[in-house]
Subunit: 490 residues, 2 copies
């Protein structure tokens, strides 16, 4: 048995508060905020994490928003097996090469009952197992487009150090897999899903992103091209938050997916795949948090309000009754009524650490004045609000907090992007923790040069629209219209 002292018992872990400032040691601040706000915990299995309720509810908000959107676009959910036979992996050569090092294989069970002995992999992504099914389901143009998504876990055996949410050996995600009869349709929807991701980041996570195309070097193994959205974190590093791949016809050919068109001729379809993961939760913590802890955008906060009765001696019953009444009135915001026997200050710190958007304090004086005291988590601003009409007031405040968080994040985002003309400017930008926007010829040689000369910064993505005027590639001076974002990244 673990021994616990009385003192420990009265001081929950989360109450210890953050011991570093976000500006001073961002990396350590992140580790502390994620664990102390009870978003995630390290698991006893190295590289794996526990997603605690405070974080899982953010994931549920993302799921709820995104699932509705993708269903409106004609996508339906399904579920494919966790385990993938080795032979499937090998069929698409680039794909196999890209993923094999990260694959966990099963030891004691294999697929030998089929008359073959084959190793089974835990899915690092599901293209191969899904497209095997598609080859059985798709017969004619009537079956297209086929649009399926799955919400699931994947395992990729990362050897680099774990960062909770950002880099773990298992994570949760959704992976959409669509099949079209033409390249045009595939291109269009590959972009459309990326735009949905961008919109989601803005509307519920309050995070602005760079939307663009990955360079050939950075694209998904087996894709024709990869589109991505990338956040810029407070330390100036880019964080890839979602991808949408046009897979071309490569997988279709490898998996014998074909369809008869309206004239009875056999054709090879076009495919895309697209995904976002629980990494988004890490981005929310990084983007908005402060030295007191997490700041949750109201749209992803499970409890949008905490009601704290100020229990002055002799007035307890009256104050508590009022606090209950107010909580009931604000039911639709899923309020916490914190009537535990700790001091108000203790409770304030606790809920600030956890990032609850609005705190409502109710004391005897408030009751006399038929008002409550409201404190915004994002600005710390105190307001006295009349009891009558409190629901509407809270709703407006939550909307305002949501908007303010995006505006603040967008300002910081814009300040972190700087246009550069040549290598010295690029180096200065990277040294000062900025993301550089530069003309770029997209040659592998120049891309390698960038990495070498900037101490590891790389091409983040290339904006989808070309520039109107030509400029010189930041490395080789070739005249081009394409530009690229360059920066350090997670």
């Amino acid at each position: 048995m673990q021994k616990k002292s009385k003192e420990q018992e009265q001081k929950p872990k989360s109450q210890e508060g953050l011991t570093v400032k976000k500006e001073e040691n961002f990396s350590e601040w992140y580790n502390q905020v994620v664990q102390k706000a009870e978003l995630a915990d390290y698991s006893d299995v190295k590289g794996f994490m526990v997603i605690r309720p405070n974080a899982y509810s953010i994931w549920e908000a993302i799921q709820s928003y995104l699932d509705k959107r993708i269903k409106l676009l004609g996508v339906r959910n399904a579920y494919f097996p966790l385990l993938i036979p080795e032979s499937f992996f090998k069929r698409e050569a680039e794909h196999a090469q890209g993923f094999t090092p990260e694959v966990a294989w099963i030891a004691n069970k294999n697929d030998q009952e089929h008359g073959k002995t084959e190793r089974l992999a835990i899915r690092p992504t599901s293209e191969t197992i899904i497209y095997d099914s598609y080859s059985k389901w798709i017969r004619s143009w009537r079956d297209l487009p086929l649009r399926i998504n799955q919400w699931c876990n994947v395992v990729r055996w990362e050897t680099r150090a774990t960062r909770l949410f950002l880099r773990t050996r298992e994570f949760l995600w959704q992976e959409g897999h669509c099949v079209y009869s033409s390249k045009g349709e595939c291109d269009k929807e590959t972009l459309q899903f990326l735009e949905e991701y961008k919109k989601m980041c803005k509307e519920i996570l309050a995070i602005p992103v760079l939307a663009g195309r990955k360079t050939d070097n950075e694209k998904f193994s087996g894709a024709l091209y990869t589109l991505s959205i990338e956040g810029i974190m407070p330390d100036g590093k880019a964080l890839q938050l979602g991808t949408s791949h046009n897979l071309g016809q490569g997988f279709a050919k490898s998996f014998n997916i074909s369809f008869l068109d309206k004239n009875g001729k056999s054709g090879v379809p076009w495919q895309n795949s697209w995904g976002v993961s629980t990494r988004l939760i890490g981005a929310v913590a990084m983007a908005h948090g402060d030295d007191r802890g997490l700041i949750l955008p109201p749209k992803v906060a499970y409890n949008k309000v905490v009601v704290i009765p100020l229990l002055f001696k002799g007035k307890e019953e009256k104050v508590l009754a009022k606090a209950k009444e107010i909580s009931k009135e604000l039911e639709s915001f899923n309020p916490i009524l914190d009537d535990r026997d700790n001091t108000p200050g203790w409770k304030f710190s606790e809920h600030e650490l956890k990032g609850i958007p609005i705190r409502i304090e109710i004391g005897p004086k408030d009751i006399e004045k038929r008002q409550v005291t409201i404190v915004r988590r994002d600005t710390g601003k105190k307001l006295e609000i009349k009891e009558a009409g409190i629901k509407k007031e809270v709703e407006n405040l939550l909307n305002d907090i949501q908007d303010s968080l995006f505006k603040k994040a967008k300002k910081s985002f814009d300040e972190k992007i700087t246009q550069v003309k040549d290598m010295p400017e690029l180096k200065r930008a990277i040294t000062s923790q900025k993301v550089a926007l530069a003309f770029f010829c997209e040659s592998s040689k120049c891309e390698e040069d960038i990495k070498e000369k900037t101490d590891g910064a790389k091409a983040i993505n290339m904006p989808l629209e070309k520039m109107k005027k030509q400029g010189k590639c930041v490395v080789c001076n070739k005249k081009v219209t394409e530009v690229v974002y360059i920066g350090k990244s997670y």
Copy 2:
């Protein structure tokens, strides 16, 4: 490349229809209905299945209903690692013994980075990995009750033949894991979660169940006792549909979970775990389907209505316009507007096979009369309904279908249960595909005797309320008040 003939192309798999009758060959009927209604498909990996959109949407309806209920009861969702270290498994002896044969271990990756080399298992259930975290999180009575649930996949390497949804090596489920400071609280909620399951089966799946306690022989490995709900399928076999285990203090002791009570004294908490799985989807198919295919209870049907325009020559535009108008009006029921260029008969069969609750036919004559023709999937009954007020009419019909399906299932359920007094009666009951209710002393010896003498029927569960009068154990004649349901089972 697979070759496909023109004929194949015009005849989707699902259109082949069922080739056996439910009464004549129930097992084959089930296999066909599950595959032809596109609920599930076998995977290339033996024992694993693909849950197709038509079935996954049933799972989503279950999730949506149950998730709301369990949140109301104070449970929050979280996510714990897929992989479990071998040492965790071994800590609770009975549990380890129960699950080890079914565990898939990882081959090429292990937990050696911790300074130990340890095998990792894919979770067959998550008690051990979750309770390791609980031992870190629980310090005092303030942390209790702790109620967490996770929606996830689990792998159990079944060696028996696969039945889609009923017995596969991977399935989806929810597993709730709660910790309480007292046995009383734990007992109460263990029962409460079982009652939630029973209610869900009735309210959305339209399936009546036997709720009771498993005998000691049949309880969960490591539990104090197990409560279960069991459906009775049309072939008279019981199908376990959900369990709620009171785990006692065994896991808490094995995982060093302790808490300081209000007096500062250390105590060992009580735990329960409870789950339902995608097996429920199989139960829905079995319980309600007929010789034409699936019959979906409206509350779990993704598309509750299909609108079929009868496109007589020269009237196509007018009919199609009306069909669109009606579909728009019925938007909240997520209708399919089937305007494909197949014959109406072809479409009728297709949607009957897939179990869509209501079919609406619209032809030129209907338009003249300002009406539509409605066909109920459950009874096949045709109704002519005035266009005005169609939404309300459809809503009423859907409610009626939902109720009728439960009533019909309940009638069949009641007919399948028969009280027996002695072994000859028990044998006759089992031979005639019934579930027997018998007095039972709960000795292992008598339980074994039942299996032997009935060719494998077993104790399903024991009703939670004892009988008012004593009776004689069906095997040993000992006087008891307990009764047990006995039957063949899946």
